[in-house]
Symmetry: C2
Subunit: 293 residues, 2 copies
Amino acid sequence: MNVGFIGLGIMGKPMSLNVQKAGNTVYAYDYHMERAEELIAAGGVTCSSGKEVAERADVIITMLQNSPNVEGALFDEGGVAEGLSAGKAVIDMSSIAPLASRDFAERLEKLGVDFLDAPVSGGEPKAIDGTIAVMVGGKPEVFAKYEELLKTMSSTVTLVGGVGAGNITKLANQMIVAINIAAISEAYSLAKKAGVDPENVYQAIRSGLAGSTVMDQKSEKIFKGDFTPGFRIELHIKDLQNALDTSHGVNVSAPFTSLAMEVMQSLKVNGHAKDDHSGIAEWYEMVNNFKLQ
Amino acid sequence: MNVGFIGLGIMGKPMSLNVQKAGNTVYAYDYHMERAEELIAAGGVTCSSGKEVAERADVIITMLQNSPNVEGALFDEGGVAEGLSAGKAVIDMSSIAPLASRDFAERLEKLGVDFLDAPVSGGEPKAIDGTIAVMVGGKPEVFAKYEELLKTMSSTVTLVGGVGAGNITKLANQMIVAINIAAISEAYSLAKKAGVDPENVYQAIRSGLAGSTVMDQKSEKIFKGDFTPGFRIELHIKDLQNALDTSHGVNVSAPFTSLAMEVMQSLKVNGHAKDDHSGIAEWYEMVNNFKLQ
Protein backbone atom coordinates (compact mmCIF):
# COMPACT_ATOMS: atom_id res chain seq x y z
CA MET A 1 0.00 0.00 0.00
CA ASN A 2 1.16 3.57 -0.63
CA VAL A 3 0.94 5.22 2.76
CA GLY A 4 1.40 8.93 3.43
CA PHE A 5 2.88 9.93 6.77
CA ILE A 6 2.91 13.49 8.06
CA GLY A 7 4.72 14.15 11.33
CA LEU A 8 7.97 12.29 12.01
CA GLY A 9 8.38 13.26 15.67
CA ILE A 10 9.27 11.08 18.64
CA MET A 11 6.26 8.85 17.96
CA GLY A 12 5.70 9.34 14.23
CA LYS A 13 9.23 8.44 13.21
CA PRO A 14 9.26 4.89 14.61
CA MET A 15 5.60 4.38 13.63
CA SER A 16 6.28 5.30 10.00
CA LEU A 17 9.31 3.00 9.98
CA ASN A 18 7.12 0.09 11.10
CA VAL A 19 4.66 0.83 8.29
CA GLN A 20 7.51 0.85 5.77
CA LYS A 21 9.12 -2.32 7.14
CA ALA A 22 5.81 -4.17 6.84
CA GLY A 23 6.09 -3.96 3.04
CA ASN A 24 4.36 -0.67 2.32
CA THR A 25 5.88 2.40 0.70
CA VAL A 26 5.78 5.43 2.96
CA TYR A 27 5.56 8.93 1.46
CA ALA A 28 6.62 11.23 4.26
CA TYR A 29 6.53 14.92 5.06
CA ASP A 30 7.72 16.86 8.10
CA TYR A 31 8.92 20.43 8.64
CA HIS A 32 12.22 18.85 9.73
CA MET A 33 13.01 16.51 6.84
CA GLU A 34 16.25 15.34 8.50
CA ARG A 35 13.95 13.20 10.67
CA ALA A 36 13.29 11.04 7.57
CA GLU A 37 16.85 9.67 7.29
CA GLU A 38 16.12 6.21 8.65
CA LEU A 39 12.88 6.03 6.72
CA ILE A 40 14.66 6.79 3.44
CA ALA A 41 17.29 4.17 4.25
CA ALA A 42 14.44 1.66 4.68
CA GLY A 43 12.97 2.56 1.26
CA GLY A 44 10.67 5.43 2.20
CA VAL A 45 10.15 8.46 0.00
CA THR A 46 10.12 12.11 1.08
CA CYS A 47 7.75 14.69 -0.33
CA SER A 48 7.93 18.48 -0.39
CA SER A 49 4.43 19.12 0.96
CA GLY A 50 1.32 17.56 2.43
CA LYS A 51 -0.29 18.07 -0.96
CA GLU A 52 2.36 15.90 -2.65
CA VAL A 53 1.96 13.21 0.04
CA ALA A 54 -1.78 13.11 -0.60
CA GLU A 55 -1.26 12.90 -4.37
CA ARG A 56 1.15 9.96 -4.17
CA ALA A 57 -0.40 7.92 -1.31
CA ASP A 58 -3.75 6.11 -1.03
CA VAL A 59 -4.11 6.66 2.70
CA ILE A 60 -2.53 9.51 4.65
CA ILE A 61 -1.59 9.20 8.32
CA THR A 62 -1.07 12.33 10.42
CA MET A 63 0.82 12.20 13.73
CA LEU A 64 1.03 15.75 15.08
CA GLN A 65 0.79 17.56 18.39
CA ASN A 66 -2.70 18.99 18.66
CA SER A 67 -5.89 19.94 16.80
CA PRO A 68 -4.57 23.17 15.17
CA ASN A 69 -1.50 21.35 13.84
CA VAL A 70 -3.67 18.66 12.26
CA GLU A 71 -6.07 21.25 10.84
CA GLY A 72 -3.13 23.13 9.32
CA ALA A 73 -1.57 19.98 7.81
CA LEU A 74 -4.89 18.98 6.27
CA PHE A 75 -6.43 22.26 5.13
CA ASP A 76 -3.74 24.98 4.84
CA GLU A 77 -2.35 25.98 1.46
CA GLY A 78 -0.20 23.18 0.07
CA GLY A 79 -1.78 20.83 2.58
CA VAL A 80 -3.20 17.33 2.29
CA ALA A 81 -6.70 18.33 1.16
CA GLU A 82 -5.31 19.88 -2.04
CA GLY A 83 -3.80 16.57 -3.08
CA LEU A 84 -6.68 14.29 -2.05
CA SER A 85 -9.14 12.66 -4.39
CA ALA A 86 -12.28 10.57 -3.85
CA GLY A 87 -11.65 7.05 -2.49
CA LYS A 88 -8.57 8.00 -0.48
CA ALA A 89 -8.54 8.15 3.34
CA VAL A 90 -7.00 10.17 6.15
CA ILE A 91 -6.14 8.51 9.47
CA ASP A 92 -5.29 11.02 12.20
CA MET A 93 -3.29 9.27 14.92
CA SER A 94 -2.60 12.46 16.87
CA SER A 95 -4.20 12.96 20.30
CA ILE A 96 -6.51 15.92 19.66
CA ALA A 97 -9.93 17.32 20.53
CA PRO A 98 -12.62 14.82 19.44
CA LEU A 99 -14.91 17.62 18.29
CA ALA A 100 -12.12 18.68 15.90
CA SER A 101 -11.90 15.09 14.62
CA ARG A 102 -15.61 15.21 13.81
CA ASP A 103 -15.18 18.53 12.03
CA PHE A 104 -12.28 17.20 9.91
CA ALA A 105 -14.28 14.08 9.03
CA GLU A 106 -17.18 16.19 7.74
CA ARG A 107 -14.94 18.42 5.64
CA LEU A 108 -13.13 15.42 4.13
CA GLU A 109 -16.38 13.56 3.44
CA LYS A 110 -17.31 16.36 1.03
CA LEU A 111 -14.19 15.41 -0.96
CA GLY A 112 -15.23 11.74 -0.95
CA VAL A 113 -12.43 10.97 1.51
CA ASP A 114 -12.81 8.60 4.49
CA PHE A 115 -11.56 9.51 7.95
CA LEU A 116 -10.56 7.65 11.09
CA ASP A 117 -9.34 9.18 14.35
CA ALA A 118 -6.87 6.74 15.82
CA PRO A 119 -4.89 8.14 18.75
CA VAL A 120 -2.38 5.89 20.47
CA SER A 121 -1.32 5.15 23.99
CA GLY A 122 2.16 4.07 25.01
CA GLY A 123 5.38 6.04 24.63
CA GLU A 124 8.43 5.98 22.32
CA PRO A 125 9.68 2.50 23.32
CA LYS A 126 6.30 0.98 22.45
CA ALA A 127 6.17 2.97 19.20
CA ILE A 128 9.54 1.43 18.28
CA ASP A 129 8.44 -2.10 19.25
CA GLY A 130 5.09 -1.73 17.50
CA THR A 131 3.26 -2.39 20.78
CA ILE A 132 1.36 0.89 21.20
CA ALA A 133 -2.41 0.60 21.64
CA VAL A 134 -4.60 2.30 19.02
CA MET A 135 -8.14 3.47 19.83
CA VAL A 136 -10.09 4.03 16.64
CA GLY A 137 -13.21 6.06 15.86
CA GLY A 138 -14.91 5.80 12.48
CA LYS A 139 -17.20 3.78 10.27
CA PRO A 140 -16.79 -0.01 10.65
CA GLU A 141 -16.24 -0.50 6.91
CA VAL A 142 -13.47 2.12 6.86
CA PHE A 143 -11.93 0.55 9.97
CA ALA A 144 -12.00 -2.89 8.31
CA LYS A 145 -10.17 -1.49 5.28
CA TYR A 146 -7.26 -0.08 7.31
CA GLU A 147 -7.12 -2.40 10.33
CA GLU A 148 -4.18 -4.37 8.90
CA LEU A 149 -2.28 -1.14 8.22
CA LEU A 150 -2.82 0.02 11.82
CA LYS A 151 -1.61 -3.37 13.05
CA THR A 152 1.78 -2.78 11.44
CA MET A 153 2.27 -0.15 14.20
CA SER A 154 0.37 -1.68 17.08
CA SER A 155 -0.35 -4.85 19.00
CA THR A 156 -3.87 -3.71 20.02
CA VAL A 157 -6.17 -1.94 17.59
CA THR A 158 -9.72 -1.36 18.89
CA LEU A 159 -12.69 0.24 17.14
CA VAL A 160 -14.50 2.07 19.95
CA GLY A 161 -17.22 3.96 18.06
CA GLY A 162 -17.89 6.53 15.34
CA VAL A 163 -15.56 9.37 14.34
CA GLY A 164 -14.21 11.13 17.44
CA ALA A 165 -14.59 8.04 19.64
CA GLY A 166 -10.87 7.31 19.43
CA ASN A 167 -10.01 10.69 20.91
CA ILE A 168 -12.87 10.53 23.44
CA THR A 169 -11.38 7.25 24.66
CA LYS A 170 -7.88 8.72 24.76
CA LEU A 171 -9.11 11.71 26.77
CA ALA A 172 -10.94 9.40 29.19
CA ASN A 173 -7.64 7.55 29.60
CA GLN A 174 -5.69 10.75 30.25
CA MET A 175 -8.24 12.04 32.77
CA ILE A 176 -8.07 8.80 34.75
CA VAL A 177 -4.26 8.66 34.66
CA ALA A 178 -3.86 12.24 35.91
CA ILE A 179 -6.40 11.78 38.69
CA ASN A 180 -4.96 8.42 39.74
CA ILE A 181 -1.48 9.96 40.00
CA ALA A 182 -2.92 12.72 42.18
CA ALA A 183 -4.65 10.11 44.36
CA ILE A 184 -1.45 8.24 45.19
CA SER A 185 0.51 11.48 45.61
CA GLU A 186 -2.04 12.82 48.09
CA ALA A 187 -2.19 9.54 50.03
CA TYR A 188 1.61 9.17 50.16
CA SER A 189 1.89 12.80 51.35
CA LEU A 190 -0.42 12.07 54.26
CA ALA A 191 1.59 8.95 55.12
CA LYS A 192 4.96 10.69 54.95
CA LYS A 193 3.95 13.69 57.06
CA ALA A 194 2.23 11.37 59.56
CA GLY A 195 5.53 9.50 59.98
CA VAL A 196 4.73 6.36 57.99
CA ASP A 197 7.02 5.21 55.16
CA PRO A 198 4.97 5.60 51.93
CA GLU A 199 6.72 2.51 50.54
CA ASN A 200 5.20 0.43 53.36
CA VAL A 201 1.81 1.89 52.53
CA TYR A 202 2.30 0.96 48.87
CA GLN A 203 3.26 -2.62 49.72
CA ALA A 204 0.34 -3.01 52.14
CA ILE A 205 -2.38 -1.74 49.80
CA ARG A 206 -1.22 -2.52 46.26
CA SER A 207 -3.01 -5.89 46.08
CA GLY A 208 -6.33 -4.48 47.33
CA LEU A 209 -9.01 -2.23 45.86
CA ALA A 210 -6.64 0.77 45.84
CA GLY A 211 -4.24 -0.98 43.46
CA SER A 212 -3.67 0.42 39.98
CA THR A 213 -1.27 0.41 37.09
CA VAL A 214 -0.42 4.02 37.98
CA MET A 215 0.44 2.87 41.51
CA ASP A 216 2.68 0.08 40.25
CA GLN A 217 4.40 2.17 37.56
CA LYS A 218 4.72 5.56 39.28
CA SER A 219 5.21 4.89 43.02
CA GLU A 220 8.90 4.11 42.65
CA LYS A 221 9.51 7.35 40.72
CA ILE A 222 7.75 9.29 43.48
CA PHE A 223 9.69 7.54 46.28
CA LYS A 224 12.97 8.31 44.48
CA GLY A 225 11.99 11.82 43.38
CA ASP A 226 12.97 10.77 39.85
CA PHE A 227 10.69 12.66 37.48
CA THR A 228 12.52 12.11 34.19
CA PRO A 229 9.85 11.57 31.52
CA GLY A 230 8.02 9.29 30.51
CA PHE A 231 5.14 11.52 29.61
CA ARG A 232 5.67 15.21 30.19
CA ILE A 233 3.39 17.42 32.25
CA GLU A 234 3.15 19.98 29.40
CA LEU A 235 1.69 17.29 27.12
CA HIS A 236 -0.69 16.08 29.78
CA ILE A 237 -1.86 19.70 30.20
CA LYS A 238 -2.76 19.70 26.49
CA ASP A 239 -4.79 16.52 26.94
CA LEU A 240 -6.58 17.81 30.04
CA GLN A 241 -7.43 21.03 28.22
CA ASN A 242 -8.99 18.97 25.44
CA ALA A 243 -10.74 16.83 28.05
CA LEU A 244 -12.22 19.89 29.77
CA ASP A 245 -13.21 21.60 26.49
CA THR A 246 -14.85 18.40 25.28
CA SER A 247 -16.59 17.71 28.62
CA HIS A 248 -18.02 21.20 28.68
CA GLY A 249 -18.88 20.92 24.98
CA VAL A 250 -21.11 17.90 25.71
CA ASN A 251 -22.39 19.36 29.02
CA VAL A 252 -20.40 17.29 31.49
CA SER A 253 -19.01 18.87 34.63
CA ALA A 254 -15.53 17.45 35.28
CA PRO A 255 -14.34 18.72 38.68
CA PHE A 256 -11.59 16.16 39.32
CA THR A 257 -10.10 16.80 35.87
CA SER A 258 -10.32 20.56 36.55
CA LEU A 259 -8.44 20.12 39.79
CA ALA A 260 -5.79 17.96 38.13
CA MET A 261 -5.43 20.69 35.50
CA GLU A 262 -4.91 23.38 38.15
CA VAL A 263 -2.27 21.24 39.84
CA MET A 264 -0.43 20.72 36.55
CA GLN A 265 -0.67 24.42 35.62
CA SER A 266 0.85 25.26 38.97
CA LEU A 267 3.68 22.79 38.32
CA LYS A 268 4.28 24.36 34.89
CA VAL A 269 4.48 27.86 36.40
CA ASN A 270 7.05 26.52 38.86
CA GLY A 271 9.36 25.07 36.22
CA HIS A 272 8.16 21.45 36.12
CA ALA A 273 6.57 21.45 32.62
CA LYS A 274 9.10 18.94 31.29
CA ASP A 275 8.92 16.56 34.26
CA ASP A 276 7.12 13.25 34.03
CA HIS A 277 3.43 13.52 34.97
CA SER A 278 4.23 11.59 38.17
CA GLY A 279 5.73 14.98 39.13
CA ILE A 280 2.22 15.76 40.42
CA ALA A 281 3.80 14.51 43.65
CA GLU A 282 6.08 17.59 43.53
CA TRP A 283 2.99 19.80 43.80
CA TYR A 284 2.18 18.21 47.14
CA GLU A 285 5.76 18.81 48.29
CA MET A 286 5.51 22.42 47.16
CA VAL A 287 2.18 23.34 48.76
CA ASN A 288 2.91 21.41 51.95
CA ASN A 289 6.54 22.45 52.30
CA PHE A 290 8.08 19.00 52.73
CA LYS A 291 9.86 16.28 50.79
CA LEU A 292 8.43 12.86 50.01
CA GLN A 293 11.89 11.24 49.84
CA MET B 1 -4.94 -17.88 74.21
CA ASN B 2 -7.77 -16.08 76.03
CA VAL B 3 -8.88 -13.42 73.58
CA GLY B 4 -11.35 -10.65 74.34
CA PHE B 5 -13.52 -9.43 71.47
CA ILE B 6 -15.63 -6.30 71.65
CA GLY B 7 -17.90 -5.53 68.70
CA LEU B 8 -19.66 -8.44 66.99
CA GLY B 9 -20.99 -6.54 63.98
CA ILE B 10 -20.93 -7.51 60.31
CA MET B 11 -17.13 -7.81 60.42
CA GLY B 12 -16.48 -8.56 64.11
CA LYS B 13 -18.82 -11.55 64.28
CA PRO B 14 -17.07 -13.68 61.64
CA MET B 15 -13.64 -12.44 62.75
CA SER B 16 -14.26 -13.52 66.37
CA LEU B 17 -15.52 -16.89 65.15
CA ASN B 18 -12.26 -17.43 63.25
CA VAL B 19 -10.28 -16.63 66.39
CA GLN B 20 -12.35 -19.13 68.40
CA LYS B 21 -12.13 -21.84 65.74
CA ALA B 22 -8.33 -21.55 65.68
CA GLY B 23 -8.24 -22.98 69.21
CA ASN B 24 -8.48 -19.84 71.34
CA THR B 25 -11.20 -19.00 73.83
CA VAL B 26 -13.03 -15.82 72.92
CA TYR B 27 -14.55 -13.66 75.67
CA ALA B 28 -17.04 -11.45 73.87
CA TYR B 29 -19.05 -8.33 74.55
CA ASP B 30 -21.46 -6.36 72.36
CA TYR B 31 -24.46 -4.13 73.10
CA HIS B 32 -26.48 -6.71 71.13
CA MET B 33 -25.51 -9.99 72.78
CA GLU B 34 -27.79 -11.99 70.44
CA ARG B 35 -24.99 -11.53 67.91
CA ALA B 36 -22.88 -13.97 70.01
CA GLU B 37 -25.07 -17.03 69.32
CA GLU B 38 -22.76 -18.70 66.81
CA LEU B 39 -19.72 -17.81 68.89
CA ILE B 40 -21.22 -19.47 72.00
CA ALA B 41 -22.10 -22.55 69.93
CA ALA B 42 -18.43 -22.70 68.90
CA GLY B 43 -17.26 -22.53 72.54
CA GLY B 44 -17.01 -18.77 73.07
CA VAL B 45 -17.94 -17.06 76.32
CA THR B 46 -20.04 -13.91 76.71
CA CYS B 47 -19.29 -11.20 79.25
CA SER B 48 -21.49 -8.50 80.74
CA SER B 49 -19.08 -5.59 80.15
CA GLY B 50 -15.83 -4.51 78.56
CA LYS B 51 -14.36 -4.55 82.06
CA GLU B 52 -15.18 -8.27 82.48
CA VAL B 53 -13.73 -9.03 79.02
CA ALA B 54 -10.47 -7.33 80.01
CA GLU B 55 -10.32 -9.19 83.33
CA ARG B 56 -10.75 -12.63 81.74
CA ALA B 57 -8.73 -12.22 78.51
CA ASP B 58 -4.99 -11.66 77.93
CA VAL B 59 -5.45 -9.63 74.78
CA ILE B 60 -8.55 -7.61 73.90
CA ILE B 61 -9.60 -6.96 70.29
CA THR B 62 -11.99 -4.10 69.50
CA MET B 63 -13.88 -3.96 66.18
CA LEU B 64 -16.14 -0.90 66.29
CA GLN B 65 -17.34 1.84 63.98
CA ASN B 66 -15.25 4.92 64.71
CA SER B 67 -12.88 6.65 67.15
CA PRO B 68 -15.53 7.73 69.71
CA ASN B 69 -16.93 4.19 69.88
CA VAL B 70 -13.48 2.75 70.56
CA GLU B 71 -12.72 5.44 73.11
CA GLY B 72 -16.00 4.67 74.89
CA ALA B 73 -15.39 0.92 74.90
CA LEU B 74 -11.90 1.38 76.29
CA PHE B 75 -12.26 4.25 78.76
CA ASP B 76 -15.94 4.70 79.76
CA GLU B 77 -17.25 3.40 83.09
CA GLY B 78 -17.33 -0.38 83.03
CA GLY B 79 -15.03 -0.32 80.01
CA VAL B 80 -11.92 -2.28 79.11
CA ALA B 81 -9.43 -0.05 80.94
CA GLU B 82 -11.04 -0.87 84.30
CA GLY B 83 -10.36 -4.57 83.79
CA LEU B 84 -6.87 -4.32 82.32
CA SER B 85 -3.63 -5.08 84.11
CA ALA B 86 0.02 -4.74 83.18
CA GLY B 87 1.24 -7.19 80.53
CA LYS B 88 -2.06 -7.42 78.71
CA ALA B 89 -2.65 -5.86 75.27
CA VAL B 90 -5.37 -4.11 73.28
CA ILE B 91 -5.59 -4.56 69.50
CA ASP B 92 -7.98 -2.11 67.87
CA MET B 93 -9.03 -3.47 64.48
CA SER B 94 -11.58 -0.71 63.82
CA SER B 95 -10.92 1.84 61.05
CA ILE B 96 -10.54 5.06 63.04
CA ALA B 97 -8.56 8.29 63.19
CA PRO B 98 -4.84 7.48 63.55
CA LEU B 99 -4.30 10.39 65.94
CA ALA B 100 -6.91 8.75 68.20
CA SER B 101 -4.99 5.45 67.98
CA ARG B 102 -1.87 7.25 69.19
CA ASP B 103 -3.82 8.82 72.05
CA PHE B 104 -5.25 5.45 73.14
CA ALA B 105 -1.78 3.86 72.98
CA GLU B 106 -0.37 6.53 75.29
CA ARG B 107 -3.16 6.18 77.82
CA LEU B 108 -2.86 2.37 77.84
CA GLU B 109 0.93 2.50 78.14
CA LYS B 110 0.48 4.19 81.52
CA LEU B 111 -1.35 1.00 82.63
CA GLY B 112 1.50 -1.16 81.32
CA VAL B 113 -0.72 -2.33 78.47
CA ASP B 114 0.51 -2.77 74.89
CA PHE B 115 -1.44 -1.45 71.91
CA LEU B 116 -1.66 -2.19 68.20
CA ASP B 117 -3.90 -0.46 65.67
CA ALA B 118 -4.79 -3.08 63.10
CA PRO B 119 -7.57 -1.98 60.71
CA VAL B 120 -8.63 -4.36 57.99
CA SER B 121 -9.54 -4.14 54.34
CA GLY B 122 -11.98 -6.47 52.61
CA GLY B 123 -15.70 -6.89 53.36
CA GLU B 124 -17.90 -9.47 55.08
CA PRO B 125 -17.19 -12.38 52.68
CA LYS B 126 -13.45 -12.00 53.29
CA ALA B 127 -14.02 -11.68 57.05
CA ILE B 128 -15.88 -15.03 56.92
CA ASP B 129 -13.17 -16.69 54.78
CA GLY B 130 -10.37 -15.25 56.92
CA THR B 131 -8.89 -13.49 53.88
CA ILE B 132 -9.14 -9.85 54.97
CA ALA B 133 -5.89 -7.86 54.88
CA VAL B 134 -4.68 -6.40 58.18
CA MET B 135 -2.46 -3.28 58.31
CA VAL B 136 -0.75 -3.02 61.67
CA GLY B 137 0.82 -0.11 63.54
CA GLY B 138 2.79 -0.68 66.72
CA LYS B 139 6.09 -1.80 68.25
CA PRO B 140 7.74 -4.70 66.39
CA GLU B 141 8.00 -6.80 69.57
CA VAL B 142 4.28 -6.35 70.30
CA PHE B 143 3.46 -7.18 66.67
CA ALA B 144 5.60 -10.34 66.89
CA LYS B 145 3.69 -11.44 69.98
CA TYR B 146 0.26 -11.20 68.32
CA GLU B 147 1.02 -11.85 64.64
CA GLU B 148 -0.18 -15.48 64.86
CA LEU B 149 -3.43 -14.37 66.50
CA LEU B 150 -4.04 -11.83 63.72
CA LYS B 151 -3.35 -14.55 61.14
CA THR B 152 -6.30 -16.56 62.46
CA MET B 153 -8.48 -13.82 60.88
CA SER B 154 -6.42 -12.80 57.88
CA SER B 155 -4.34 -14.06 54.97
CA THR B 156 -2.16 -10.92 54.89
CA VAL B 157 -0.89 -9.26 58.05
CA THR B 158 1.58 -6.41 57.49
CA LEU B 159 3.41 -4.27 60.06
CA VAL B 160 3.57 -0.84 58.41
CA GLY B 161 5.04 1.33 61.18
CA GLY B 162 4.53 2.57 64.74
CA VAL B 163 1.18 3.05 66.47
CA GLY B 164 -1.28 4.80 64.15
CA ALA B 165 0.45 3.55 61.00
CA GLY B 166 -2.23 0.91 60.47
CA ASN B 167 -4.94 3.53 60.30
CA ILE B 168 -2.79 5.93 58.26
CA THR B 169 -2.40 3.14 55.71
CA LYS B 170 -6.12 2.37 55.79
CA LEU B 171 -6.94 6.05 55.23
CA ALA B 172 -4.46 6.26 52.34
CA ASN B 173 -6.25 3.24 50.86
CA GLN B 174 -9.69 4.82 51.27
CA MET B 175 -8.56 8.15 49.78
CA ILE B 176 -7.19 6.41 46.69
CA VAL B 177 -10.27 4.21 46.27
CA ALA B 178 -12.70 7.15 46.46
CA ILE B 179 -10.67 9.27 44.05
CA ASN B 180 -10.17 6.38 41.61
CA ILE B 181 -13.94 5.74 41.55
CA ALA B 182 -14.50 9.43 40.81
CA ALA B 183 -11.91 9.26 38.01
CA ILE B 184 -13.66 6.46 36.13
CA SER B 185 -17.10 7.98 36.76
CA GLU B 186 -16.00 11.32 35.33
CA ALA B 187 -14.34 9.71 32.31
CA TYR B 188 -17.32 7.43 31.57
CA SER B 189 -19.65 10.43 31.86
CA LEU B 190 -17.68 12.27 29.20
CA ALA B 191 -17.76 9.19 26.95
CA LYS B 192 -21.50 8.58 27.38
CA LYS B 193 -22.53 12.19 26.73
CA ALA B 194 -20.15 12.37 23.75
CA GLY B 195 -21.93 9.36 22.24
CA VAL B 196 -19.31 6.68 22.96
CA ASP B 197 -20.26 3.48 24.82
CA PRO B 198 -18.39 3.62 28.18
CA GLU B 199 -17.99 -0.16 28.06
CA ASN B 200 -15.95 0.19 24.85
CA VAL B 201 -13.82 2.80 26.58
CA TYR B 202 -13.28 0.42 29.50
CA GLN B 203 -12.24 -2.44 27.22
CA ALA B 204 -9.90 -0.21 25.21
CA ILE B 205 -8.03 1.32 28.18
CA ARG B 206 -8.14 -1.26 30.98
CA SER B 207 -4.83 -2.88 30.06
CA GLY B 208 -2.98 0.45 29.84
CA LEU B 209 -1.77 3.01 32.39
CA ALA B 210 -5.37 3.96 33.28
CA GLY B 211 -6.14 0.42 34.48
CA SER B 212 -6.95 -0.18 38.15
CA THR B 213 -8.60 -2.63 40.50
CA VAL B 214 -11.37 -0.05 40.98
CA MET B 215 -11.88 0.00 37.21
CA ASP B 216 -12.08 -3.79 37.01
CA GLN B 217 -14.32 -4.21 40.07
CA LYS B 218 -16.64 -1.19 39.76
CA SER B 219 -17.13 -0.50 36.02
CA GLU B 220 -19.75 -3.23 35.61
CA LYS B 221 -21.77 -1.87 38.56
CA ILE B 222 -21.68 1.60 37.00
CA PHE B 223 -22.70 0.33 33.54
CA LYS B 224 -25.63 -1.58 35.08
CA GLY B 225 -26.58 1.15 37.57
CA ASP B 226 -26.39 -1.55 40.28
CA PHE B 227 -25.23 0.19 43.43
CA THR B 228 -26.06 -2.49 46.02
CA PRO B 229 -23.21 -2.50 48.56
CA GLY B 230 -20.37 -3.59 48.82
CA PHE B 231 -19.04 -0.71 50.87
CA ARG B 232 -21.56 1.98 51.70
CA ILE B 233 -21.09 5.66 50.94
CA GLU B 234 -21.94 6.59 54.56
CA LEU B 235 -18.99 4.50 55.79
CA HIS B 236 -16.67 5.93 53.16
CA ILE B 237 -17.71 9.41 54.32
CA LYS B 238 -16.53 8.47 57.82
CA ASP B 239 -13.17 7.37 56.42
CA LEU B 240 -12.75 10.51 54.31
CA GLN B 241 -13.58 12.68 57.32
CA ASN B 242 -10.82 10.89 59.25
CA ALA B 243 -8.52 11.26 56.24
CA LEU B 244 -9.14 15.02 56.03
CA ASP B 245 -8.86 15.56 59.80
CA THR B 246 -5.62 13.60 59.86
CA SER B 247 -4.21 15.30 56.76
CA HIS B 248 -4.90 18.71 58.22
CA GLY B 249 -3.59 17.53 61.59
CA VAL B 250 -0.21 16.77 60.02
CA ASN B 251 -0.33 19.83 57.72
CA VAL B 252 -1.14 18.18 54.43
CA SER B 253 -3.55 19.82 52.00
CA ALA B 254 -5.74 17.11 50.43
CA PRO B 255 -7.83 18.75 47.70
CA PHE B 256 -8.80 15.59 45.78
CA THR B 257 -9.98 13.92 49.01
CA SER B 258 -11.92 17.09 49.87
CA LEU B 259 -13.63 17.02 46.52
CA ALA B 260 -14.47 13.31 46.87
CA MET B 261 -15.93 14.13 50.30
CA GLU B 262 -18.14 16.90 48.85
CA VAL B 263 -19.38 14.52 46.15
CA MET B 264 -20.23 11.86 48.75
CA GLN B 265 -21.93 14.40 51.05
CA SER B 266 -24.07 15.51 48.14
CA LEU B 267 -25.00 11.87 47.44
CA LYS B 268 -25.92 11.40 51.10
CA VAL B 269 -28.18 14.46 51.05
CA ASN B 270 -29.89 13.03 47.99
CA GLY B 271 -30.69 9.67 49.55
CA HIS B 272 -27.74 7.59 48.40
CA ALA B 273 -25.97 7.08 51.78
CA LYS B 274 -26.55 3.32 51.73
CA ASP B 275 -25.49 2.80 48.11
CA ASP B 276 -22.16 1.21 47.24
CA HIS B 277 -19.35 3.77 46.93
CA SER B 278 -19.36 3.15 43.17
CA GLY B 279 -22.54 5.24 43.44
CA ILE B 280 -20.20 8.23 42.97
CA ALA B 281 -21.24 7.68 39.35
CA GLU B 282 -24.79 8.71 40.38
CA TRP B 283 -23.46 12.13 41.35
CA TYR B 284 -22.32 12.68 37.77
CA GLU B 285 -25.75 11.65 36.52
CA MET B 286 -27.38 14.04 39.00
CA VAL B 287 -25.29 17.14 38.29
CA ASN B 288 -25.23 16.56 34.54
CA ASN B 289 -28.87 15.49 34.18
CA PHE B 290 -28.32 12.26 32.27
CA LYS B 291 -28.10 8.49 32.77
CA LEU B 292 -24.97 6.41 32.31
CA GLN B 293 -26.94 3.25 31.43
